[in-house]
């Protein structure tokens, strides 16, 4: 799980242009949206794409899947459970 968390952090930095950030700067349990990393709705769409492209998992952007986007850890847990 920790390796997957590191990997997802790096994908986020690359896909979202988190300039000057390293994986060590991202707290796996901090909220992705709002206060934490300060991501927005466009970033959410980019995260959906990166999960689809890297792990072959399609996530619908609905209320039911919202908890998946809570933090890097919740995202990694979802990927671990659903990856093909």
């Amino acid at each position: 799980m920790e390796a997957l968390i590191e990997e997802i952090k790096q994908h986020l930095i690359d896909a979202l242009n988190l300039e000057d950030m390293t994986t060590a700067d991202i707290d796996a349990d901090a909220p992705l949206f709002g206060d934490g990393l300060g991501l927005d709705s466009i970033d959410a769409l980019e995260i959906i794409l990166l999960v689809e492209r890297n792990y072959g998992i399609k996530i619908d952007n609905t209320a039911a899947t919202r908890p998946v986007f809570k933090s890097v850890r919740s995202l990694a847990e979802y990927v671990a459970k659903n990856r093909k």
């Binding site: 979202l16 988190l18 300060g38 466009i42 970033d43 769409l45 959906i48 794409l49 492209r53």
Partner: protein
């Protein structure tokens, strides 16, 4: 009575998914949608059934040339008339030409074909029609068409033109289709504006043109006036509309003030109504803020789809027809209201008593626009646009990366500002250029201390529109992993102005012109806004970026 010039809508021309002018109005009358499953794009779309062809022209140019020719012929005016101005509204112009031209790697700036530049389209149209003046191009996202009416009206009121043809066009492309798909905002079914089950927009193509003139035409009775128009920004988010509807409300409110009317004098409202969850929700709030929630209200996107740069033109023309017939067309696709504020939408057409409407549009970059149209026979004429102030320029700032690589230059500039805005590095290079120039220009000026948010405007122009980012999107869809929402959202030049508005909470007019080189256009337009009371502070000037080069020359002017 005052000395205000009255602006009439003259001869017009329409080409939509429903057909030509007569076929389009017959379809609106009968409630028949032109949206169909489009085999080329693999989605529902509104495609013009029979496009005209003109030798040496692309599809987009041929549509515009034919529409402008029709208007000149029917109005009996000479295209070469030196007093005739043409305002072109398009978001993407000849964007199809990027397909095949943009390669998997290399400097995109060297791969963009000359004819993909909007100025090249304007020159082509000028050459074929023999126009005295080169058309003025507005590329202001989805408000472009309504914005073109606002600008066209001001060109006449300022005396710059004696009459103006407003022409709008965008054509279907993989570019637009893939972009909106990546945004998850395309519905699998024909769009359902304001409906409880709406789940996205339908894309479309269309072309429309109309003469704005100070002379009423007997052939077009009853005469319809363009009484007022205004543009605003909600300064909320580049792709997410305001949660309160305040930005659109400011545009509606300013347009109604110019028309000299209040809500009781409005007969109906034609909204943008795209069928996306957030747009329609925001519009219901703005219309309610303006006190128009009980008026019959419709969206025409269910007939033509969202036709981008054409939308504001063809929908405003449909409004004029509704005013002449005293009838509001039904909203195709609508059955059950699903927006937070109770507004008066109907799937069936409704008779009205007052021949006056508010037409709105909203778009990426947070921009909003509204115009007021009315039967001339109503007689309560617009308020005078008198000169009430002088303009004073109080700051200027220029930047130019010269020979330094853009990425290195702009990073250095950002570091010098010393702020920490996480959003900066996600912006397109054009938006970064505008952001850095505006931050430096505004240093030491606290505009909010002296002015309301809605009185601070931004008027920009450039040559390359958003072609740098457009080429990146084309590369993504042709050669890389597919469309990226973060790239696609910046494929509109005014989004760069939107970033400045968001950063600084500026909610006044914002207009983005495309011109071959810096001219007096932005300054003249700024002077009009400031001296006629439409803004109290304006950030204006040139903001260009393509490939490795950026150049901005911004000024800050205020009323004196």
């Amino acid at each position: 009575m005052n000395n205000q010039k009255l602006i009439y809508l003259g001869a017009d021309c329409l080409m939509t998914a429903c057909g030509d002018r007569a076929q389009t109005y017959a379809a609106l009358e009968a409630g028949v949608s032109g949206l169909k499953q489009d085999s080329a794009l693999g989605m529902i779309a509104g495609r013009i059934p029979d496009c005209p062809s003109v030798e040496g022209c692309t599809k987009l140019e041929a549509l515009l040339v034919s529409a402008i020719r029709t208007v000149c012929r029917e109005a009996g005016i000479d295209a070469a008339d030196p007093g005739l101005g043409i305002v072109l509204s398009t978001t993407k112009g000849n964007i199809e030409l990027l397909s095949g031209a943009i390669l998997a790697e290399g400097d995109v700036a060297e791969q963009i074909p000359q004819r993909a530049f909007l100025g090249s389209t304007a020159s082509k149209i000028q050459e074929i029609l023999g126009l005295a003046q080169q058309p003025l191009v507005i590329s202001n996202a989805c408000i472009s068409g309504v914005s073109a009416f606002v600008v066209g009206r001001r060109l006449i009121l300022s005396g710059r033109c004696t009459r103006v043809i407003v022409a709008g066009c965008d054509t279907l492309s993989r570019f637009i289709a893939t972009g909106f798909e990546s945004f998850k905002s395309v519905s699998l079914k024909p769009c359902k504006p304001f409906d409880a089950e709406r789940d996205g927009l339908s894309i479309g193509e269309a072309c429309g043109a109309v003469l704005l003139t100070t002379e009423a035409s007997e052939a077009l009775a009853p005469a319809v006036l363009l009484e007022g128009g205004a543009v605003s920004d909600d300064a909320n988010h580049i792709s997410g509309p305001s949660r309160t509807g305040d930005g659109l409300f400011f545009a509606i409110d300013n347009a109604m003030r110019q028309a000299g009317v209040d809500a009781s004098q409005i007969g109906f409202v034609n909204t943008h109504g795209t069928g996306t969850a957030y747009n329609d929700e925001m519009e219901s709030k703005a219309v309610t803020l303006a006190g128009l929630q009980d008026k019959p209200l419709n969206s025409l996107k269910g007939y033509f789809g969202h036709t981008f740069g054409a939308a504001g033109v063809i929908e405003t023309l449909a409004c004029a027809e509704e005013i002449r017939r005293l009838k509001v067309y039904g909203t195709a696709g609508f059955s059950t209201l699903g927006v937070p504020c109770p507004i008066n939408v109907s799937s069936e057409s409704v008779a009205i008593e007052t021949g006056r409407c508010v037409k709105t549009a909203s778009g990426f970059g947070g921009c909003n626009a509204a115009v007021v149209l009315a039967l001339a026979s109503l007689g309560d004429y617009p308020s005078d646009e008198a000169t009430i102030a002088e303009m004073e320029t109080i700051a200027s700032y220029s930047l130019d990366n010269g020979d330094q690589p853009f990425a290195e230059y702009i990073r250095e500039q950002y570091r010098t500002l010393g702020d920490a805005n996480m959003k900066f590095f996600k912006m397109s290079d054009l938006a970064k250029t505008a952001y850095i120039a505006a931050e430096n220009l505004l240093r030491g000026h606290d505009l909010h201390a002296d002015y309301e948010e809605r009185d601070i405007a931004i008027i920009l122009s450039n040559r390359s529109s958003s072609l740098d980012d457009d080429a990146l999107h084309q590369r993504n869809i042709d050669h890389l992993e597919g469309a990226s929402p973060a790239v696609f959202v910046y494929t509109l030049p005014n989004v760069a102005a939107g970033e400045v508005c968001i950063r600084n909470k500026f909610k006044g007019d914002n207009t983005f012109f495309i011109e071959d080189a810096p001219s007096s256009l932005c300054e003249d337009y700024t002077r009009y806004l400031l001296t006629r009371g439409h803004a109290k502070a304006v950030i204006w000037g040139w903001c260009e970026q393509l490939g490795n080069n950026c150049k901005a020359e911004l000024k800050l002017s205020i009323t004196k």
